[in-house]
């Protein structure tokens, strides 16, 4: 690894390394060039030299120290968390992973991700508390992977003064992190346990739904999540393509429960004859839209397909424009056929299957007021069977009906 050419003297950086090692009892390393844009030098904890148990029990308050080109020396902690991970515990997905950088947004997201907002507030509170006590400038960076950072103006300081200030700030940062960790292990853990308890019933039910759907369609399903505030969705399940057996029944592709009821959607019938992920995603790239499709809400997810390369690696291969044109052949299903099959199936299965207004997608919904979970699951199963049968019939009718213009 190429080391950076330090404007500061190498002896001084080594002294910083030794100082941090003496404070924390852990090894530090000097940053490589590629890792140090905008900084004169950086020293950070060397996890490679730590045993697994040391890594897990590490106080991460002083992960690194760096000097900026403006003469500011910063001491920063390791990331407190990854907001996408914590949000995932609540089935929520941040479209903008840095949205919490603006404190004004915290209140809006509290209802969706209470434990995450609580931890950010605690970290900021601890920072403010220590700032008052020690006259420091600890700040919380609350973007995708939040961390604490303190800094001081080192211009005009000699090496001894700089080292003294680094030591003072590093020790305070260790205190800060210790207090955040203490909260995480006590109050935070209790919040998590409560959340887990309240979610357990839903997770069990969702798993039951997934298992029933798999039995009906042979497709694979996973949990979905909310991407908008106050969406009202209590839980959702989305289909995903199993690479080994792509040609499964996708009559049921998205299920969601709200306070009012449960809605079940099929996949887009334009994809009904796709033989593999390349064809399937190419159809999506060429404009095929799936109702309520979780994937469609994830940027770029259709711009590649899974493959294995010459080294045997699982690889996400980008789909070129040419490939999208070549493989993105939609199956054109006449709206009349969809309507007819929906009517037929509705009659046979005694459910109301509808064609969505603007998409070649079938859906059915029912109200859940007064229903017990077992009753809801049975109703989902009954309707899923109807949608799966509709998929099978339309598949039979659609053979050879590919869009030659695509």
């Amino acid at each position: 690894m190429t080391e950076i050419t330090h404007k500061a003297n190498d002896g001084f950086i080594l002294k910083v390394t030794k100082l941090l090692e003496s404070i924390t009892g852990k090894p530090y390393r000097i940053s490589g060039k590629q890792d140090s844009k905008g900084v004169v030098w950086r020293v950070y904890i060397d996890r490679e030299k730590l045993s697994l148990s040391d890594r897990l029990s590490l106080n991460k308050g002083a992960k690194g120290v760096e000097e900026g080109e403006d003469g500011t020396i910063r001491v920063y902690s390791d990331n407190l968390l990854d907001i996408t991970d914590l949000a995932s515990d609540y089935d929520f997905h941040f479209r903008d992973a840095d949205v919490l950088l603006d404190r004004k947004n915290w209140e809006e997201y509290r209802r969706e991700v209470p434990r995450l907002i609580a931890e950010l507030e605690v970290a900021e509170g601890i920072a403010n508390d220590l700032n008052k006590k020690y006259d420091t400038k600890i700040k919380l960076w609350s973007g995708e992977k939040p961390y604490l950072e303190t800094s001081f103006d080192a211009r005009g300081m000699n090496e001894g003064e700089k080292l003294k200030e680094i030591e003072r700030h590093a020790r305070i940062m260790l205190k800060a992190r210790e207090r955040v960790d203490e909260w995480v292990e006590t109050v935070g853990a209790e919040m998590y346990r409560k959340m887990e308890r309240s979610r357990m019933k839903m997770i069990k039910f969702r798993d039951d739904v997934i298992s029933r759907l798999q039995d009906i369609t042979n497709s694979e399903y996973g949990s979905g999540y909310n991407t908008t505030l106050l969406s009202g969705i209590l839980w959702s399940v989305v289909g995903w393509n199993d690479k080994k057996n792509f040609n499964t029944n996708r009559g049921v592709w998205y299920v969601k429960e709200t306070k009012e009821g449960i809605a079940i959607f099929s996949d887009n019938f334009e994809t009904i004859n796709a033989q593999n992920e390349l064809e399937y995603n190419s159809i999506k790239l060429m404009g095929g839209v799936t109702a309520g499709d979780y994937e469609a809400r994830i940027d770029d997810i259709f711009s590649s397909y899974d493959d294995v390369n010459e080294r045997g690696w699982n690889i996400s291969r980008p789909i070129t424009q040419e490939e999208a044109m070549k493989y993105g052949r939609k199956t054109v299903i006449s709206p009349q056929i969809l309507e007819d099959v929906a009517k037929q199936i509705s009659k046979e299965f005694k459910v109301n299957i509808q064609v969505m207004k603007d998409k070649p997608v079938l859906m059915t919904e029912f109200q859940t007021k007064g229903l017990k979970q077992q009753e809801k699951a049975s109703e989902i199963e009954r309707r899923a069977k109807a949608l799966a049968e509709a998929w099978a019939r339309i598949k039979e009718l659609s053979k050879g009906a590919e869009d030659t213009k695509a």
Binding site: L56, T84, S223, V289, D300, R317, P318
Partner: protein, 108 residues
Amino acid sequence: MGEIGAEVAAKIAEKEYNVKVILSGSKTGPDSIITLNNELAVFEAKSSKNMSELVRNFRDAEKQVKRRDKAGIAVSVYIEKETGFFECKHKYVPGSSSKVNRYEGEEP
């Protein structure tokens, strides 16, 4: 992600892609910077306690790699704390790709 999950994910990447995963020294950015095919790449990992979240997290990890505008490895692990049983998904995500415009669907 949970630290145990991160360690497991790192081991998986090291074994499957012959890389050394070391924590990045930076404050922001990927979980780790790695050297892959003699080039700098990123490592993003997710772990979950529910099997049904494995795929969703895998997509998140892939998305995080793509957001870095660099090649990288995305790993998602499901770990059963009580038994130590784990399931994982991983893939190599190449760097910048040619992007094709597409119409984005709406929630019904």
